[in-house]
């Protein structure tokens, strides 16, 4: 029954690909309806599962595992785990996916690849749902690759645009590096423990059977997969470029679901990863560092989607930091076992949950503005709040939630993470605080540049029929997401995930930590207001006075150059690949050609014997006779 959650969107993909696109090509909207029906079905089943899990013992529904392949002693299963973590994830994925599909009907209207878009979206939803439900690592990896594939297909959706094609390739290759580590870890674990099953691995890790360097290496390998998929440092370079895809794709895949697969993986494997202090420290450090690192680049970005992309990377860093901090507490013995494991998961997944809503809201909002202005460049926008009031209001709600302003959703989930970070990783905590400031700043910079002031796009920037609000089919998902962006923090997610979270609406304001983060946030908003609305300080002069810093940020710390020019071109292409090519040309081809050449040369020599002259043949006969005589003589 639970399998149907995955199978419905998958079936939708198959129907669109094999029935609708070939035969009903003139009615593309059928693809949209099919997709939406399938996802509605998944959502209903997910909510049912959520309710069932809530009522079930230990918040777990018994999972069934079917044998898929048996090769000798190796058995590979297909199985589902429906516990609270999985339930939250499927509900989140289904909800956001549904809203994005509805939005896409309006946004993608008139596009030639309309049906193909929905086919890929269905496939993506199916893969993501499968990913969160899988009960063993190999089955999970199958869907892991599935979402990677769909990401590639959807980033490069407008494949005739060279930037889009390149961005898709970049996304795929960079995440591949992470996936490689993940796969190696899976196999390594199998070799050491003989199982792919996640539950069994947890038991082995907690019992201490799986430990030491084996566990650390495996955990780091699994985390590397998460680093790739979630765009953490150093595999972050693909996410900003992935904004070449259609905006709903960015909202669904690169904000709410696929990139969160990395966080989900760490959360799912948390008992195992947290059992190794080294591995979980790596998680925390990379998470914390990425948060501030990405935020710095968001400060100077001019494309609104890129600002949101950096924000996503940064927030994912937060989630990793949350997991890492609690994990450090657990591994170093400060927190007791079961409590710690559920707390870590709860803290990170809660933020994942709220972030999914307000980030996809922000992306869809930016899509709405581009629908009117035809561009994503904030320098060409401005004053849109008069023309697009609904978009403006929902966008501001999303930004406030992201900045962590009480009582919106982002506040509660961020507090959770900051609280744990403060307790176990003080250095990273202060870095996270600075990030709060930066986040608030760059988000409201975006808000003020886009919606306040005067419109800078000129005549050619606007739509042919003037700037206007987007149609209802685009606005309604925005409103729904905005509502969630407000109330999601009040939902008992933490309790549902088994953690002991005390939610107190006004009581949260009594902690000093809340006030510190609120003041950082409000300070960021104020600074943005001063610079971009009041124009008391000039952004330009700040940029010029901090010239080299500005260059560093706008060039993304030169990581693209580092990776592409230095590493790929010089080291790999000119170095290793050239060496391989040399081997291929001269040794492999050389030996094959060499054999041929030798044969021909040998033939050329041998044919000299065929002179056609009797005397030569006679000589040969006599040489033979003498040889035989000699042979017989020697061996008689």
């Amino acid at each position: 029954m639970i399998f149907a959650i995955i199978l419905l969107p998958l079936f939708s993909f198959l129907v669109i690909s094999f029935v609708l696109r070939p035969f009903f090509n003139n009615r593309p909207q059928l693809s949209a309806y099919t997709t939406i029906c399938a996802i509605v079905g998944s959502l209903i089943l997910s909510i049912w599962a959520l309710i069932a899990v809530n009522g079930a013992e230990n918040h777990v529904l018994t999972s069934t595992s079917y044998q898929w392949l048996a090769i000798g002693d190796t058995v590979i299963n297909i199985g589902i785990t429906m516990d609270s973590l999985a339930a939250i994830m499927v509900v989140t994925v289904s909800t956001i996916s549904l809203l994005v599909q509805i939005y896409s009907i309006g946004y993608m209207k008139g596009d030639g690849g309309f049906a193909r878009y929905f086919a890929f979206m269905s496939l993506f939803t199916a893969s993501m749902l499968g990913l969160v439900l899988a009960d063993n690592l190999l089955f999970l990896f199958l869907f892991w690759e599935g979402v990677g594939l769909c990401s590639y297909l959807l980033i490069g959706f407008w494949f005739h645009k060279p930037e889009a094609a390149r961005a898709a390739m970049k996304a795929f290759v960079v995440t591949r590096l992470g996936d490689f580590g993940f796969l190696v870890a899976i196999i390594f674990l199998y070799v050491k423990t003989g199982t792919f099953d996640i539950g069994e691995l947890h038991e082995l890790a907690l019992a201490g059977v799986l430990g030491g360097s084996t566990l650390t290496l495996a955990a780091i390998g699994i985390f590397s997969g998460a680093v790739g998929k979630s765009g953490q440092f150093p595999l972050h370079t693909w996410l900003p470029d992935a904004m070449e895809g259609p905006t709903p794709v960015s909202a669904l895949i690169h904000a709410a679901t696929m990139v969160t697969a990395g966080v989900y993986l760490v959360a799912r494997m948390f008992p195992m990863i947290a059992s190794s202090l080294t591995a979980i420290t790596v998680v925390a450090i990379i998470g914390g560092f990425t948060a501030i690192f990405a935020a710095t680049m968001g400060l100077v970005a001019t494309d609104i989607k890129r600002v949101l992309a950096y924000s996503t990377i940064s927030q994912l860093g937060y989630m990793m930091l949350g997991l890492g901090a609690v994990g450090i507490g657990y591994a170093s013995g400060h927190l007791d076992g079961h409590h710690a494991l559920t707390l870590g998961v709860a803290v990170a997944i809660f933020h994942l949950f709220t972030h999914a809503f307000f980030k996809s809201l922000l992306f869809l909002g930016s899509g709405s503005t581009s629908h009117a202005t035809g561009t994503f460049d904030m320098r060409k926008m401005g004053g849109l709040r008069k023309v697009q009031p609904w978009t403006y209001v929902t966008f501001v709600i999303g930004s406030l939630s992201l900045a962590g302003i009480w009582p919106l959703a982002g506040f509660w989930s961020k507090e959770g993470i900051l609280h744990e970070a403060h307790a176990y990783t003080p250095v990273l905590f202060w870095l996270a605080m600075i990030t709060v400031f930066m986040t608030a700043f760059y988000m409201f910079r975006a808000v003020f540049l886009t919606f306040h002031g005067e419109y800078r796009g000129g005549k050619e920037g606007s739509h042919s029929h003037g700037l206007h609000e987007s149609p209802k089919i685009i606005i309604i998902p925005l409103v729904i997401l905005a509502i969630f962006a407000v109330i999601a923090g009040w939902l008992p997610v933490g309790d549902f995930l088994g953690a002991d979270v005390h939610f107190s609406f006004f009581g949260a304001l009594t902690s000093w930590l809340a006030w510190v983060s609120l003041s950082f946030g409000i300070a960021g908003i104020l600074l943005a207001y001063i610079i971009y609305v009041r124009k008391l300080l000039s952004a330009k002069s700040i940029g010029q006075s901090l010239g080299p810093v500005y260059t560093l940020l706008i060039r993304k710390y030169f990581f693209d150059e580092l990776y592409e020019r230095l590493f790929v071109m010089r080291f790999l292409v000119d170095g290793i690949f050239a060496a391989f090519q040399w081997v291929d040309t001269y040794i492999v081809d050389g030996s094959v050609n060499g054999i041929a050449t030798i044969t021909v040369a040998g033939g050329k020599v041998m044919r000299r014997l065929e002179t056609g002259q009797l005397q030569v043949y006679g000589l040969a006969i006599f040489i033979g006779i003498l040889a035989i005589v000699a042979f017989l003589f020697i061996f008689s």
Binding site: L619, F622, I623, L626, V629, A630
Partner: protein, 164 residues
């Protein structure tokens, strides 16, 4: 047996010399004549071996028929300048020849031959005839086949040389 020895050595030297002349001489006609001389001396060697019938047969057949045949062939295939030059396999052939010679000499010298030293006393003609024509342990079949062979050879030679 002094006479026999002297005769053998003289005849041997002459025959070898004649054979060398056949092979080494540039003028074919002279080579053919030396071949005839070689045949004669071989007939003499047969006599030292008490093969009287064969000596006669040698002269008749080889000198008389084959020698003349060869001279005819030389005259009919006279190439203007050529003569009898050496081919390009001179050295390998020389080597092989020497090798062969050495091998044979070695074999001959190192074998223990059971010989009957006395001279045969009977004239051989009768013995040969008896061996050829007696039924059971004779060579009648081979004789007949040889006749057929000669017939075939004659016909073949005629056919080959016919004017079209």
């Amino acid at each position: 047996m002094m006479g026999l020895d002297i005769a053998f050595w003289v005849l041997a030297v002459v025959s070898v010399g004649a054979a060398l002349a056949v092979v080494l001489m540039r003028d074919i006609f002279r080579a053919a004549l030396f071949l005839v001389l070689c045949f004669f001396t071989v007939a003499g060697i047969y006599i030292t071996l008490s093969a009287d019938f064969l000596a006669g047969a040698q002269v008749l057949i080889y000198v008389g028929a084959i020698g003349v045949l060869i001279i005819f062939a030389i005259m009919l295939t006279r190439e203007s300048r050529r003569g009898s030059p050496s081919g390009r396999l001179r050295l390998p052939a020389l080597l092989i020849g020497l090798l062969f010679l050495v091998t044979m000499v070695f074999v001959v010298v190192s074998t223990d031959w059971h010989v009957i030293a006395e001279l045969p006393t009977e004239p051989t003609t009768t013995a040969i005839a008896q061996a050829l024509f007696s039924g059971e342990d004779g060579f009648v079949l081979a004789f007949e086949i040889a006749a057929a062979l000669l017939l075939a050879a004659i016909i073949g030679a005629i056919v080959l040389v016919r004017e079209k």
